[in-house]
Symmetry: C2
Subunit: 672 residues, 2 copies
Amino acid sequence: MNKHLCRAITLAFVSGGTIVAQFTNILMPQPEHLAAGTGQLTLSSSFSIGTTKTADPRLDAAIREAILQLRRKTALEIVLKTNSAPTLTIAVDSPGQVIQSVDENESYSLTSTATHIDLKAPTAVGAMRGLQTLLQLVQSSGSDYVIPAVTIQDSPRFPWRGLMIDCGRHFEPIPVLKRNIDAMAAVKLNVFHWHLTEDQGFRIESKVFPKLTALGSDGLFYTQAEARDLVAYARARGIRVVPEFEMPGHSTAWLVAYPELSSARAPSGIRREFGVSDFALDPTREETYTFIDRFLTEMVTLFPDPYLHIGGDETVSPEWKSDPRILAFMQAHQLKDPDALQAYFNQRVLKILTRLHRHMIGWDEILNPALPKDIIIQSWRGQASLDKGAQQGYQGLLSAGYYLDGMQPAGKHYLVDPSPSAAALTPDQRKLILGGEVAMWAEQVNEQTIDSRVWPRTAAIAERFWSPETVTDVDDMYRRLDKVSVELEANGLNHLNHEGASLRELAGTENIDALQTFASVIEPVSFGERYQQQKTSQLTVLDRFVDAVRPDPPSKHAVDLLMRGFLAKPSDAADRQALATIFQSMIDCTPEVRRQMAISPRLADAQTRAQQLPTLAKAGLQALTFIGSNQKASAGWKSSALAAIADAKKPSAIVRFTFLDSLTELVNRVSE
Amino acid sequence: MNKHLCRAITLAFVSGGTIVAQFTNILMPQPEHLAAGTGQLTLSSSFSIGTTKTADPRLDAAIREAILQLRRKTALEIVLKTNSAPTLTIAVDSPGQVIQSVDENESYSLTSTATHIDLKAPTAVGAMRGLQTLLQLVQSSGSDYVIPAVTIQDSPRFPWRGLMIDCGRHFEPIPVLKRNIDAMAAVKLNVFHWHLTEDQGFRIESKVFPKLTALGSDGLFYTQAEARDLVAYARARGIRVVPEFEMPGHSTAWLVAYPELSSARAPSGIRREFGVSDFALDPTREETYTFIDRFLTEMVTLFPDPYLHIGGDETVSPEWKSDPRILAFMQAHQLKDPDALQAYFNQRVLKILTRLHRHMIGWDEILNPALPKDIIIQSWRGQASLDKGAQQGYQGLLSAGYYLDGMQPAGKHYLVDPSPSAAALTPDQRKLILGGEVAMWAEQVNEQTIDSRVWPRTAAIAERFWSPETVTDVDDMYRRLDKVSVELEANGLNHLNHEGASLRELAGTENIDALQTFASVIEPVSFGERYQQQKTSQLTVLDRFVDAVRPDPPSKHAVDLLMRGFLAKPSDAADRQALATIFQSMIDCTPEVRRQMAISPRLADAQTRAQQLPTLAKAGLQALTFIGSNQKASAGWKSSALAAIADAKKPSAIVRFTFLDSLTELVNRVSE
């Protein structure tokens, strides 16, 4: 954010810098029930913790971690002290299940007064959720850090609140996954869905079938020890790990290693292009099921969760429509089309999973009446598909609406509800909607950029999954998102750091203030639009300007908020002045931006945007003047301004401006 | 850096944004001989590499890494291609020594033309140095990335170019050390001096004496596997690892585990305070030497380098002057004082090291005629101490002048020469000065802050160790330091990211532009000054404003440069305008800074500085006007301005302004 935008936001969000000795609600997700009390507990180095009822090593570790966080947040030399009259008393009824289940009780209650904090939970996982709330409650009284007096009763709206990371198309090293799991815990997500196999890479070590990674991974895979360690790491934070092994489609990398399992041809190598491949496992051979059986029998030793994801989406095999042998098999088994053949495949895999005590999850395509009702359908197709499953008695998860690669703003994802009360479902059907999962597909993200694509937007979605359906105030969400985002960075994510570091690297200098101003009103286009413009493959180097900027930067909502304020009351000078400052900063930054772009080939393609920006900003400034002073524009001004906006909406440099909708609204309000 | 300072620097450093199709020298360290040619080689995805003569896995790995760097720097889909007419031909005579020695040949020659690059080196290490130069040569021609035509003959001035990191007082996790080793390789340093034991922590696993870490490390130590891996990691980058085990002093952590080795009392626990402790190993007991023998016999299996550092500094044990048993021993062995007793200890340890085929290194205090001439004295006391050693025939390393915790500017360290030609040494004595080591003592750094304390200043010192003595242009060093600093960040350091992330965390918001402007003219005070004000211990939480800001931020030299320009030619408007913009930005940022400080207890102590800043900036603006327009100030103006500066120099908030010397000079030039 550049200085001017920051000031604008400050004006919008802070009530004059006064310090209020009362609770400021910056919790994310919002708890189910919250009542602010009076007074506050002042934190000091004498802070102490006592646990009653259950002793549990996992809870102990969570408490030690909370202490470290309290130290960081306050700079107080807080060390773990336990005594008979502790500042914080934690009472947990039970450690919780050895293998965290989908119906693990995550509720807790938290009561703080001026002298004491009580945290009660039926399970250690519930207590962990309460500790995260406690950390978010720490605020400043001016001279001290305090925990305000509150009474909170909290439990999640949905039991399944996930984040899926595609580690197939681009490999993400373990430290990247760990810091993302830390962030998940901070916003009370509870399922890490680990997408481990793709056409572009097979990422998990199999000792039974070592060729899977030897030939299918470019050497980029997780060892079994690393996978076990990650599962333990997640469990320590109250997070389940659900692995996904894509079958029968998205399986090119399997077939590079074991071409005999292919429906027909052997692939020439790991797929580098993206999009749907036409390779699939052969559902007609017994060897395929023997292989899957042995492979999954090995995998369940790594992944104790009762659910196992088989993918199942986008299976396209021309041979399923043309190969005489396959067609004969289908006829013999009365399978009328490829969908039926896939359903047959799924039934066979289901038998294996059942023997292994695992429930099946798959994408929409696995939905078939032939499958039993204990499977879960994860919907990438949408609410209608999800509801259709529920109406047939299938459990479901919503992922449509939570695809991060669409580069949509947090506020848009935030309003997508997995199970809106308006939906045409019976109460029993409604119970089948277990929750949702954010999906981070990795065609265009790598280990440097992934955090900035996942966060902070995922925090807003996490609130959707946890908080009551009625919590839908987008402006208030953004107010709190600023706080949670900064906390997530302090806990290890690079999502805020990434932009500055990338711009420095692109420009080859620390002197990037103009570039940062420019970048603050730019965001990446969606995966699809980028693909159309750039035809990205797995080999594309992801370090251009588009990779530096982030989706939904703070300027987007800030400008929108100011614009709404200004248009609601054009006579008020504050919003107008703030907007004018922003537009002026856009104009001011351009000469230096263009100079730097001229000497950096990787910035050069954004020259068009740098040319467009001052024209847009000037139109904005003029519109502010016209409306603010109740003047009319000269004839043709409006069409000229709208033409400039239309021009700026045309694809270029794989990036787009964040403020064009607000600007359009402004221009349209000008009278001619 | 805030926008205004950036612009100022841009004005100072860039010649109008024109692109010159010729070599721009941004190399650091500067090579011994360089001749720029004409033309340039345009990089493309068809870039290929061929090696001739020696095949070597270490060289192959370095080439693969260089390819990744080229991809990052250019976004070209460069993959490793070898063919008969490669773009880059690398000819290496020999892989080099299995255990890199102090006299490893690190020279190389590099010749590039419009079509071809030749890199020749006698060893793989030399070729690695050349590859780093090649990466620094990549520059922009506007539309493309190119390598300009040059001819370079290069070799280091000193064979020993080290960085010491104290992992005793604060533990640094392995990833931190690895990224620092990467950075060392980028600027051609070749010794990582690993300070592994301290009063505050024993950091290396001993399987023979497991209590050393069980009781002496708080659980924060390196396993033997990690140590071996780090040694291999360093070797792969042409860097030796010299371990240091402090004895007989700085050994509280040993004695926590094995109190029977203490000169008298058992310590009550790991020492949390800093400063010199009064515990020491007992030099009068045979058990001490048996212990050291067994311990070092184990350690040399981890650390193959022929040198081993025994510390030896600041040994203070009251018992060496009072304990009857120790005094009797001293008398019996004709040891007249504690120094003689330590010399006796060193002689005994030397025997152990000799048996283990290790040369001894130690700090100044080990210098004693009783020790043979193959030891190395590392001087923290200064040039005189070093020269005195050389005059007595001892090899030496300079560390005085390179202590990073003094928070001195890069330009000051840069001008400290380990062996100035003016020194009173014979040519043979001069040869005994092997080089120098940067020292990062860790009283007040942790894993978050260390990068910003070590870099980029260490890059400037690395140039001192490598480049000819005559390379001393401080302004030119800073010009190049900006480039190398950004490259180091792109390779994994957080030294530039850290400030923004910390300020966001301290302020609890992304909106930190005013704070960043403020921070850009602030730096931490020295270790000693901070200690005086804050009495830091190992338990002090290092996340206050002082920990966010960095030593020698770019503003410091930028303001100095502009001030020199302005004072040399006050009639020229450019420098005056740039300075005025900077002073104005200082004034403008203050209200928002003060508002944020009022609501963040961890920022609150810097309120004094925020109050002082606008007064100083106003004085600066007035002085610019007086001098620029040849006006006289009214009587008393100057003394008032100097009083404000004096006030701002008083200790407060453990931070100081970066520009007070420049401002003083400016004010003093005003006529009254």
